[in-house]
């Protein structure tokens, strides 16, 4: 015997948006609003602020700033340190990335922790480490002063600390790529007669190139922005060991705010353009080669 069930009214198709749906939309709009507001207050507005203060008096102060010898030297020093840092962290970073992604041996996870350590350490502490190693009473000081090489309060220590803080970037970008790619293509190349070096140059590098470039760009941006560590090791000798960031500090200290803003803006613009450029190329490359 069948029972008569209470039939629930079924809404006909094509009904207008019901209350839960429009409420969902309103909630989403509010969420977006809050997120946008946060980003505006925290990031966009200050960026606008610095652009205003740097550019409001037109080109004049800009050319004036860049004609100052200490500004030029500071920028030169920053670029030099950045280039050395990028080269070192890229080459050695690739080695570490390969070992981390492909090799298996006890203590590998310790290696991984070392790679991430510079991200967590204060740059001031990094500078201190260099002073303790190479400064007066430091472990390596006798050796270098015997050779007549000045490390602290000179370029070498500034390069060393900048390398330290930039170590993670290339490695962190490349390792996941290598893991995802796997070894199939490389092994195929081996069976076709390519040596390990040839395989690395023709197969592996092209496959990781955008991640590698991105890591290099991050490394470069970090290097030109470094201030805490170089402050500690440089001794801030104007015109000799003053990077762009140290120049900015001094400029504001000596009431030359406008010059400070302009140099700051320059550094920011350089980094942003670098990173946007690489990211744009990466997207285009993904679209072209397709994803397998």
């Amino acid at each position: 015997m069948s029972q008569q069930a209470h039939a629930e009214p079924i809404a006909p198709r094509g009904r207008p948006a019901s209350k839960p749906e429009s409420r969902g939309r309103a909630v989403r709009a509010v969420l977006v609003g809050i997120a946008l507001f946060y980003v505006l207050v925290l990031i966009v507005a200050p960026l606008a602020g610095i652009m205003y203060y740097g550019l409001r008096n037109g080109v004049g102060p800009i050319t004036d700033t860049f004609s100052q010898p200490d500004v030029r030297h500071a920028l030169y020093l920053t670029v030099l340190i950045m280039l050395i840092t990028v080269v070192v962290t890229t080459v050695l970073g690739l080695v570490v990335a390969f070992v981390l992604a492909r090799d298996r041996f006890p203590g590998k996870s310790l290696l991984s922790a070392f790679v991430n350590l510079p991200l967590a350490v204060s740059p001031v502490v990094v500078g201190l480490m260099a002073i303790l190693l190479f400064g007066r009473g430091g472990w390596f000081e006798p050796f270098f002063s015997a050779q007549g090489i000045q490390i602290v309060f000179a370029l070498p220590s500034m390069v060393i600390v900048t390398i330290f803080i930039s170590i993670p970037f290339v490695i962190r970008e490349v390792v996941p790529l290598l893991e995802e790619l796997g070894m199939d293509e490389e092994q195929a190349a081996w069976t076709l007669g390519a040596s390990r070096l040839q395989t690395f140059l023709r197969i592996t590098l092209p496959n990781i190139r955008w991640g590698l470039f991105y890591g290099m760009a991050l490394s470069a941006a970090r290097a030109i922005g470094e201030v805490g560590a170089v402050l500690v090791v440089s001794g801030q000798v104007q015109g000799r060991t003053e990077t762009a960031t140290l120049y900015i500090l001094r400029a504001f200290d000596q009431y030359q705010a406008e010059r400070g803003y302009i140099v700051a803006l320059t550094l920011a613009a350089f980094s942003i353009v670098l990173l946007i450029g690489i990211e744009a190329f990466r997207r285009r490359s993904l679209k072209r080669a397709g994803q397998e």
Partner: protein, 327 residues
């Protein structure tokens, strides 16, 4: 002998992948390494290629000891299950890769690539990227790429495993025809018994790191050396203590000498064949495979009483042709 494997062993930690394996593969043949997952067949193939290092034992390719040689120097062509196409290169550049490494002239490369494109039927696709090809096309490209450098042996690691069934069958037949044309010593790894039987000159059945039998497909089927080979290479049904092939089970309506009584449980019509599920008097289950004609003649129904006997007992023979030689 194109490939000689001598007493090769390999472990991964505690797991024994290859246990004192020896094999001699004749030049120009198409050998299939057949076995279930984890049997060691892929490992063996990779050891031959030099992509894995054995813990002990030697590998010889074309009569030369290759054990200490890296894969670059062994003259092997390798085709991977997931194609391993060079993603960032066109089909043409993929195929040309080995030749570019050998620094051949541009004209030579171009001519050979065109020749290979025609061989694998990918003409017109030379400018495409692997991501724009289907799985079957990518695998054909991989074959062309491997053949481009005229390898001494061609090794294929479950080459059709990532393709769907129809493409798999097509490529299987196509590979066989290709081999007949090109005659490169070929070794193919698969877990698909049908594929092995269809394609191979010889089959090596691999199980738990050992080769159980190496011989012609028909020999393996009719004279299996071990129970495993028998159950893996063809359908089996148990008759008492022994295994027999379902199509070797005769079914009659009248009792006769050496026939046993059985009841028909189910009759399944599979097109040309008819599968009859039977139960013996003690309740043991059997399967018989009859042709349509036979089944019609008998007019079998569920619940009917019939009499069965094996027309031949395929006995597992320790010294069957190709049975593993104790080392």
């Amino acid at each position: 002998m194109a490939i000689g494997v001598h007493n090769v062993s390999k472990r991964f930690g505690d797991f024994v992948a290859l246990d004192d394996v020896s094999l001699a593969i004749p030049t120009g043949s198409l050998t299939v390494l057949l076995g279930p997952s984890g049997s060691g067949k892929s490992t063996l193939l990779r050891v031959i290629a030099g992509l894995e290092q054995p813990d002990s034992g030697e590998v010889a390719i074309a009569e030369t000891d290759a054990t200490a040689l890296p894969p670059q120097k062994r003259g092997v062509g390798f085709v991977f299950q997931h194609y391993a196409s060079f993603k960032r290169m066109t089909v043409r550049d993929n195929i040309a890769f080995g030749m570019k490494i050998q620094k051949r002239s541009k004209n030579e490369i171009r001519a050979r690539v065109d020749e290979l494109l025609e061989l694998v039927q990918l003409q017109g696709l030379a400018g495409r990227y692997p991501s724009q090809l289907s799985g079957g096309q990518r695998q054909r490209m991989a074959l062309a790429r491997a053949l481009a450098v005229q390898p001494k042996v061609l090794l294929l690691d479950e080459p059709f495993g990532a393709l769907d069934a129809r493409v798999r069958k097509e490529l299987r037949a196509w590979l066989r025809r290709l081999h007949d044309e090109v005659h490169v010593t070929t070794v193919l790894v698969t877990h698909d018994q049908e594929e092995a039987m269809e394609v191979a000159d010889r089959i090596a059945v691999v199980n738990q790191g050992r080769i159980e039998q190496y011989g012609k497909p028909r020999d393996l089927y009719e004279h299996p050396a071990t129970e495993f080979v028998m159950t893996f290479v063809g359908p089996v049904t148990r008759f008492g203590e022994a295994y027999i092939r379902p199509h070797d089970l005769e079914v009659e309506l009248q009792p006769s000498a050496r026939y046993e009584e059985a009841t028909v449980e189910k009759v399944v019509h599979l097109g040309f064949e008819v599968r009859v599920e039977l139960a013996l008097s003690e309740g043991e289950r059997l399967e018989a495979q009859l042709t349509k004609r036979e089944a019609e003649r008998l007019e079998l129904l569920e619940g009917q009483r019939v009499f069965v006997r094996p027309s031949r007992l395929t006995e597992v023979e320790e010294d069957a042709p190709g049975a593993r030689v104790a080392s």
